[in-house]
């Protein structure tokens, strides 16, 4: 029974930790499926984390914070779009620049606004997303097995967690069942064909980059206003890159992305809870857990366990034929 309680707790924290990964991963999925590589997920999340926490701290409204976070993330998305779509610059270099821009600007502005060494004041009350309790969660808590699973694992998360997981079927539906999704995937594989059909490549790519910005914005706001209570310097801690890893691991597909993010969330949850794991004499150090998402991604990229093939036109600026 004790094992079961621990298991539920670990899975519960898995869901919490997987949420920002999932949002950022789906964000990257839209962008990369449209042929725009985005290694700036990390920076957009960080920017949003800061502005959501800052606005929530000043106004006391977490919803205004969320809007500000999404807005900040969208501005960086627009920058990425202008650099890589309009001026046909190198998408990877643009992503690197955006990461540094966010990393520097957040601390600079935080110091100028709050003078607390690059952090925002702690959020409380209406400044945070509160957990949502499902109906009968308390009444069912005593029931064996089902009780803890329902009341702890499924109920009691903030609304953004449910939004993140609902985004998975929604993304699947948009990509595979709508005209927009078909065109979006086409523009990432063969933009010339889309152009010939009379659909704007530039418009579609900007739309994809904008969706990416919104989702990264939600991910960052979740970090600062739901998972934690306020912004601290570099609080994304490489999550944007783990999301990128998950995206490759999932081979750019929404449902697989969810499983990959849950797996990487589980690794984080285990690393947080157990530090070094003793498996009957062999001790797995915590650093292995830290490195495992990246190692798994390299293995997948290497194609030894099923090959990850990115969208064909990914990273290539589109030049209209004359």
């Amino acid at each position: 029974m004790e094992f079961f309680v621990t298991l539920v707790q670990v899975l519960d924290s898995t869901i919490r930790l997987a949420t920002p990964l999932l949002l950022a991963c789906l964000a990257g999925l839209y962008s990369e499926r449209a042929g725009i590589f985005d290694i700036g997920l990390e920076g957009k999340m960080l920017m949003s984390a800061f502005f959501s926490a800052a606005v929530a701290a000043v106004t006391g409204s977490v919803w205004l914070g969320l809007m500000a976070g999404i807005g900040a993330s969208l501005i960086l998305s627009a920058l990425h779009g202008v650099a890589s779509i309009t001026f046909r610059g190198n998408q990877l270099i643009s992503g690197v620049a955006i990461n540094f821009l966010a990393s520097g600007l957040t601390v600079l502005i935080a110091q100028s606004w709050f003078q607390q060494g690059g952090r925002t004041p702690s959020l409380f009350g209406g400044g945070r997303f509160e957990p949502i309790s499902f109906p009968f969660a308390e009444a069912l808590d005593a029931a064996p097995i089902i009780g803890p699973v329902y009341s702890e694992l499924l109920s009691g998360h903030s609304i953004l967690v449910y939004v993140a997981f609902l985004m998975v079927p929604l993304t699947w539906w948009v990509l595979y069942r709508t005209r927009f999704g078909l065109r979006l995937r086409a523009v990432g594989e063969n933009p010339a064909a889309v152009d010939t059909a009379g659909v704007s490549v530039v418009g579609l790519r900007f739309a994809a980059v904008a969706i990416c910005g919104v989702l990264c914005g939600i991910a960052g706001a979740y970090l600062a206003t739901a998972l934690q209570a306020g912004f601290v310097k570099e609080m994304t801690a490489g999550r944007g890159f783990i999301a990128l890893a998950a995206l490759i691991f999932a081979k750019w597909r929404p449902w697989h992305a969810m499983w990959a993010c849950l797996l990487f969330g589980l690794l984080q949850a285990i690393a947080l809870r157990f530090q070094n794991i003793d498996l009957g004499g062999i001790i797995i150090p915590v650093q292995v857990m830290d490195a495992l998402p990246y190692i798994l991604t390299v293995v997948i990229l290497a194609g030894f366990v099923g090959k990850a093939i990115p969208p064909r036109a990914g990273g290539e600026p589109y030049v209209k034929e004359r």
Binding site: R88, G89, Q91, A97, G104, Q115
Partner: protein, 364 residues
């Protein structure tokens, strides 16, 4: 027909990009309520106003020369090595192993051994992404990013569980023995009555970095291998037609790049800290990207850009010390430089090309 003269491509575009970055940085300083003129004054006196300041500026510049050259060599083969950070970390491990476990009689021999070890470790860390790119087509940018994180975890493990001296709480190795301490600028240039560079970390590695610039220049423009690397970077199909093996060039270019990034460790680990600590690289691997972009992947450009960034780093530290502007201002400037010289290159280039075409038509 060339769209514009070569000097415009080499000098004018980076200069305009730099001016744009400077203008935006000024706006940032104004926006946080500080005085830009005063800030620049503080930075100049702090970084260039004394031999102490120069000692720090050149110390940082040494790091950035190595990592900038690393990125530049890979750029010539049209490979984006974003893994300089991880390769430099591993280089640090190589230096630590070389310095701690072998009793060297003199620093000069130890320096040679440390150079070899750091290059070997850095190159080894670049070898796997290089192989995966060449043989399996895995995107080098993604694999090198992943390898940065793996390197950080690996180094963390080595320092906490393996190399930490007994009884020490610090995740760091023991101090290197006295015999392998490198001569600093202070000991090299001070006279009995006039002490210069006092307390500054610049050391003999600076000259190794200068040598590396010259060697890379000779390699890229004066050897057959360099020609092959440039040919491959210019046109893969053309290179294949000329009998150049893409697999060979990809792997060799990345090994050289990794070795150069690893070589940085003789400066920061052996020259400055004299032991290996966590996060010894302090992001220098990433600054190499900005340096290589600004230096147009030419060793002389890399040299100038590295000095500029060395100045920014030391100036930024002084700024953080005397004003309420945090060090992160430098990260913003660095981001703007990467943005303008790298991603938004065409924004400057296209109008300039039009201008030169217009001028030429006018002259005819």
């Amino acid at each position: 027909m060339e769209k514009m003269p070569k000097w415009a491509d080499v000098v004018l575009i980076p200069l305009i990009s730099l001016i744009l970055a400077a203008i935006l940085s000024t706006l940032v300083i104004l926006a946080i309520g500080e005085n830009p003129v005063e800030a620049v004054n503080l930075m100049v006196t702090g970084a260039l106003g004394s031999t102490y300041g120069w000692g720090y500026t050149l110390y940082y510049a040494t790091n950035f020369m190595f990592t900038g050259l690393a990125v530049a060599v890979a750029f010539h083969a049209r490979l984006f090595n974003i893994g300089g950070e991880g390769q430099a970390m591993l280089g640090g491990l190589g230096v630590a192993v070389a310095c701690l476990y072998i009793p060297w009689p003199h620093w000069s021999i130890a320096l040679l051994a440390a150079c070899a070890a750091s290059m070997l470790f850095g190159a080894a860390w670049a070898a796997i992404p290089a192989y995966l790119q060449a043989k399996r087509g895995s995107h080098i940018v993604i694999t090198t990013i992943m390898f940065n994180f793996i390197a950080a975890a690996f180094l963390n493990y080595m320092l906490v569980n393996v190399m930490r001296p007994q009884g020490s709480q610090d995740p760091a190795t023991a101090r290197f023995p006295e015999a392998v301490h490198l001569p600093t600028f202070q000991s090299m240039f001070s006279t009995a009555e006039n002490a210069v560079f006092r307390g500054a970390p610049a050391n003999i590695s600076f000259f190794v970095a200068l040598l590396a610039c010259v060697v890379v220049w000779a390699l890229i423009w004066r050897t057959r291998l360099g020609y092959e690397i440039r040919a491959y970077g210019h046109s893969e199909t053309g290179a294949v037609y000329a009998g150049i093996s893409p697999v060979r060039i990809t792997i060799i270019a990345m090994l050289i790049s990794g070795a150069l990034a690893g070589l940085m460790a003789i400066n920061n680990v052996m020259g400055e800290a004299e032991r290996l600590v966590l996060n010894a690289t302090e992001g220098a691997g990433f600054i190499g990207i900005a340096v290589a972009l600004m230096g147009r992947s030419h060793p002389f450009g890399v040299f100038l850009a590295a000095i500029l960034f060395g100045f920014l780093y030391q100036g930024g530290a002084e700024l953080a010390l005397w004003t309420s502007i945090p060090r992160e201002l430098i990260v913003v400037i660095q981001a703007l430089v990467i943005l303008f010289t790298g991603a938004l290159d065409n924004m400057v280039r296209i109008p300039l090309e039009k201008l030169f075409l217009g001028l030429r038509k006018g002259a005819e």
